[in-house]
């Protein structure tokens, strides 16, 4: 590249000129004069480092790596692997906490020593960190726990290994998942193409955490019965039948501001996808959609009346939530729930071990979140899918690529997955999830298994433009939730216009933004 040469020359000029400047200094005994020389020194290092960094083997390594336990090419070597994961996210942390088990396994079966280092960043910042690193073709992180929506960007940049190709030579990665939604959410980009880029690390869905100690309190049962002429749901099966109208009653019933107790909690934070993930269920479950992945149409689909109603319904729920709910993110919900501020909370299944600390053991029931009543009287619930895939850095050198593959193969061994489940992670392979007794391993597994189907959960776009599209709608959604704007339909119009424009300009769709978009403003 021309630019690269230009900068090399500039760098050389700088080093030379620095030396020139320093030329006067060696002759003088003044102590401080040594310092300009120090300024020169560091500039030389990157000059030398740059070319070495540039030449990196790529995907080739992925293809040639075949399992050969007998005489493993890395036998006797010491390898240090680096994983980038999501900060504060139990399942992501588990991947690393369990890595010593792999080290043992590798030592025994392959004969090499491996250690793992772990880097992390919160959801909101991890994409920047990962992508900024991958853009330099660096193998700073050998394996990355990515959020499902990032697949598009990583894949388009060719920064991650194509798993579909990998499966051809490594059939171990063709695992049977518990539901097609697993592949759709964590593997495939572009949507519907069947090309796989990731391997599920953890499956996740929105579930409802219920303070069973409050719900089974005889006084609450009696009071509720008296007020609404209905029974407070007590069991998993009761909750399966709960719809939003009933849930509103329940939330109203437990909202007792004088006692500092509130009915429920959703996320409304502007950070990352927090509000989006808890608003989408209102749309998905009432028949709304967000785009057409085939032709990239957004305007006309997202800004429907159904979705506008869904936004209104979502905002209405605020009155049963603590004052701070508009700022609620994953962590805030954990705090509110475990500190007894709310009777129920919508939260990721992945947060199970944080939502049910030792003090609350046996007092929490985890159930499917409320359904939405359809026109024909049937019940439907479609909630957002969470969870993350592993992706493999395509710039890994041969040795690291080899270990990454060995590690991931080990990851999908039945005993590894079972251990993962016992430590609080949500497995996705059919063998583990469908095994007898799975539902009893963790208190939230029954609800997780119930929800982790194409019928009950779905993901949103995996487009490379996802982060810009996401921040646009986060702005619109939070503006509406906080009351900065009060016309749900107009908010959706604005978001749809902006997103259509983003997609069009990025060349992801041929559909231009609607002509009416010129006059649509968020705060009209």
């Amino acid at each position: 590249m021309n630019k690269q040469n230009l900068f090399k020359i500039a760098g050389l000029i700088m080093v030379f000129s620095m030396l020139l400047t320093a030329c006067g200094t060696p002759a003088t005994p003044a102590p401080a004069a040594a310092e300009p020389a120090k300024a020169v020194e560091p500039t030389k290092a990157p000059e030398a480092a740059a070319p070495a960094e540039a030449a990196k083997p790529t995907e080739a390594a992925a293809a040639e790596a075949a399992p050969a336990a007998a005489d493993h090419p890395l036998k006797g070597q010491k390898i240090e692997m680096s994983i980038l994961g999501i900060g504060g996210w139990v399942p992501s942390r588990l991947g690393v906490d369990m890595s010593p088990l792999f080290a043992e396994y590798a030592k025994k079966n392959y004969g090499y020593d491996v250690t793992f280092t772990f880097q992390e960043a919160p959801f909101s910042d991890l994409f920047q960190k990962a992508n900024a690193s991958l853009l330099t073709k660096s193998q700073e992180y050998n394996i990355i726990i990515s959020d499902s929506q990032w697949l598009g960007a990583f894949a388009e940049e060719k920064a991650i290994v194509n798993i579909s190709d990998l499966i051809k030579t490594n059939p171990e990665f063709d695992v049977k998942w518990v539901s097609p939604v697993v592949a759709d959410a964590y593997q495939v980009y572009p949507d519907g193409s069947g090309i796989k880029w990731g391997l599920p690390e953890e499956g996740d869905v929105v579930v409802l955490y219920v303070r069973q100690d409050m719900f089974s309190d005889p006084k609450n049962i009696a009071d509720y019965k008296a007020k609404y002429n209905a029974d407070l749901p007590q069991t998993f099966e009761d909750w399966e039948k709960v719809d939003m109208d009933t849930f509103k009653n329940i939330s109203e019933f437990f909202t007792r501001k004088d006692q500092g107790l509130y009915g429920t909690a959703y996320q409304y934070s502007k950070v990352y996808d927090f509000m989006t993930m808890f608003l989408y269920p209102f749309m998905f479950s009432t028949g709304g959609d967000i785009w057409d992945p085939k032709d990239g149409k957004i305007f006309g689909i997202l800004n429907s009346d159904i979705n506008a109603k869904a936004m209104e319904a979502n905002r209405e729920m605020l009155k049963y939530q603590p004052e701070g709910a508009l700022q609620y993110d994953i962590a805030a919900i954990v705090d509110a729930f475990t500190q007894g501020k709310v009777a129920t909370a919508f939260q990721w299944a992945a947060e199970g071990s944080a939502m049910i600390p030792d003090a609350l053991k046996g007092k929490v029931l985890v159930v499917p979140p409320p359904a939405f009543k359809q026109a024909d009287g049937s019940l439907k619930r479609v909630y957002s899918v969470g969870g993350q895939p592993w992706v493999i850095n395509a710039y890994n050198d041969d040795a690291h690529m080899r270990v990454a593959l060995d590690f991931l193969k080990w990851w999908y061994l039945p005993e590894t997955q079972l251990e993962y489940a016992k430590r609080g992670g949500n497995p996705t392979d059919a063998a583990t999830v469908n095994a007898a007794g799975f539902e009893d391993i963790q208190p939230w597994f029954k609800a997780y298994k119930y929800m982790m189907t194409s019928e009950h959960t779905r993901d949103f776009w995996h487009e490379p433009t996802y982060s810009t599209m996401l921040s646009t709608q986060q702005e619109g959604f939070t503006a509406y939730a906080s009351g900065q704007v009060n016309d749900a339909k107009n908010t959706l119009d604005w978001i749809a216009c902006e997103q259509q424009k983003i997609q069009f300009e990025a060349g992801r769709t041929k559909i231009e933004p609607d002509a009416s978009c010129k006059n649509i403003k968020l705060d009209k």
Binding site: A32, A33, P36, E120, A121, D125, E140, Q339, A354
Partner: protein, 276 residues
């Protein structure tokens, strides 16, 4: 007697003002000695059995030592480089009345005004092309650049205040120009150097975004570590945040305590005439 009372009252008011500003910091310091439940409890716990467990936990975490070392090394070296470079330039601007002086001084200052996100974009593009991302020199020299404008401004003020007669005498007596520069002028601008050092050090020390974007796992500094490791087991890890914040604030606070006089004189940009 009456006057004495007034003075006492005046002194009490001053202390109250200082303590009001310090109160949130004090609360953070208290938090560092609490358990997470105590930090979150309302009404706040003013009396509790302090625990050192947070600090023990902090220093047994992997990498925390590396982050602190990175912070110390990168910021100290960056600011030192900046001071040397700036001192040379300040001397040149002050003594030789170069035609370009005001133009360069002007550009230096306006660079500092550009939002970090804007100034990091081109540098990021450049570092990607050159492979300088996540290297110590790349990080240090970038911070040095950011410390130069203010240092030049402050040091030029001080060098202006040193009479040219010193230079002349030095040269007449047979000293070289570099000798004049470092042995004669340098000691006289010490307050400016200290002020520039502390001021820039605080900036680099606490800087988050540049390190996040053009740094990486080897050059991570404490502010980035604070943000990236702040969550734990699904909640904000308040004990980690509090204890690391407390450890991290010690160096600048000590610097301000011990070099306070220099700092106050230094911030006059060499125009000190009265009592501070």
């Amino acid at each position: 007697m009456h006057k004495g009372f007034k003075t006492t009252l005046y002194h009490i008011i001053l202390w109250i003002v200082a303590l009001i500003f310090f109160a949130p910091v004090f609360w953070i310091i208290l938090s560092a000695f609490k358990t997470k439940d105590q930090i979150l409890s309302i009404p706040p716990k003013w009396f509790f059995t302090p625990t050192l467990a947070n600090f023990v936990d902090l220093f047994t975490r992997p990498n925390v030592g590396t982050y602190i070392r990175n912070s110390l090394l990168i910021s100290a070296i960056a600011v030192l480089i900046a001071l040397v470079v700036s001192f040379l330039a300040a001397y040149a601007f002050s003594r030789f009345k170069l035609k370009s002086t005001s133009l360069i001084m002007f550009f230096l200052l306006s660079i500092r005004m550009v939002p970090a996100a804007a100034s990091v974009i081109p540098v990021f593009l450049m570092y990607v092309a050159l492979g300088w991302k996540d290297t110590y020199p790349g990080m240090t020299l970038f911070y040095a650049m950011f410390s130069i404008p203010f240092s030049v401004w402050i040091l030029k003020g001080f060098v202006d205040g040193v009479s040219e007669r010193f230079d002349e005498t030095g040269l007449v007596n047979g000293g070289s120009r570099l000798h004049v520069l470092f042995d004669v002028v340098l000691p006289q601008v010490r307050p400016g150097l200290v002020a520039a050092f502390i001021f820039n050090m605080v900036f680099v020390w606490n800087e988050y975004m540049f390190n996040y974007i053009i740094g990486g796992k080897t050059t991570t500094t404490v502010p980035v570590a604070l943000v990236t490791w702040m969550l734990n087991q699904g909640g904000v890890d308040w004990t980690f945040m509090a204890s690391l914040t407390v450890v991290f604030m010690i160096p600048p606070i000590l610097a301000v305590y011990f070099f306070q006089k220099y700092l106050l004189i230094g911030m006059t940009f060499g125009t000190v005439r009265g009592e501070i």
